[in-house]
């Protein structure tokens, strides 16, 4: 159900929509251009140990695995940004309390949770991969170590819970509409 025109809501939503589109374009461009860099160092540290190599020095199958790991870990973020852009577009049009927007909040939440999980596992996964293909021996010890990306997990959970609350609100609204 469209809400009456609200200048502030429309303005902020337009800003959100524009920013989300810009973020999306920058992320996709960054990911795409990354692999065309002539020098692309990969540096892993553990205490005093520093191990560095260049992406282009790796065998082809390791390059593909690295691309898959980095791109895969970014996909939830790109998905979340697309959902945020769609949310901004709908809010701009005054379409606020809808089933679609409720689901979008939950999707953004799940995507941020996935981003937190993938982000936590990315460095150990790269360490394990490089160790398996000739990295330093200490990388084997680094593989099980990961930093929990709790910020993303919390933000994701918050979005998901807000989505659930909106869904409950919509159910109450529908119930009220059909109370004669």
């Amino acid at each position: 159900m469209p809400v009456p025109f609200d200048r502030a809501l429309t303005g902020w939503s337009r800003l959100l929509w524009g920013l989300a589109l810009l973020t999306l374009a920058l992320n996709v461009a960054q990911l795409s251009l990354l692999w065309f860099e002539p020098v692309l160092p990969i540096t892993l540290t553990s205490g005093d140990e520093v191990w560095s190599t260049d992406f282009h020095d790796q065998p082809r199958h390791v390059q593909i695995a690295l691309i898959a790991l980095v791109t895969g870990s970014e996909l939830p973020w790109i998905f979340a940004v697309v959902q945020i852009a769609l949310l901004g577009r709908d809010y701009m049009r005054g379409t606020v309390f809808t089933e679609n927007n409720t689901r979008r909040f939950q999707k953004i939440g799940l995507a941020l949770i996935a981003l937190g999980v993938f982000g936590s596992l990315l460095h150990p996964a790269i360490a394990a991969l490089l160790f398996a293909f000739g990295g330093a021996p200490w990388m084997a010890d680094m593989a099980p170590l990961f930093t929990l990306e709790i910020d993303y997990l919390m933000a994701g959970l918050l979005f998901f819970v807000i989505g659930k609350i909106m869904q409950r609100g919509l159910e109450l609204q529908t119930s009220d509409q059909f109370t004669i």
Partner: protein
Amino acid sequence: MGIVVNLDVMLARRKMRLNELSERVGISLPNLSILKTGKARAIRFSTLEAICRELDCQPGDILEFVDDHGAG
């Protein structure tokens, strides 16, 4: 089916049209139509009271419980 609304039956017995009832009880025709077709999720006591007054009937004449999960 759960709760069945027999508003159409009562209207037929009283030989009254839905739009006439709508004017008498002050409830919009679309809302009464929702009630008549069984799409309503709830009914306010004030609405039930107004309908019963105009149709000169009891709430049980309008609302009926049908047990779908009954024995047999």
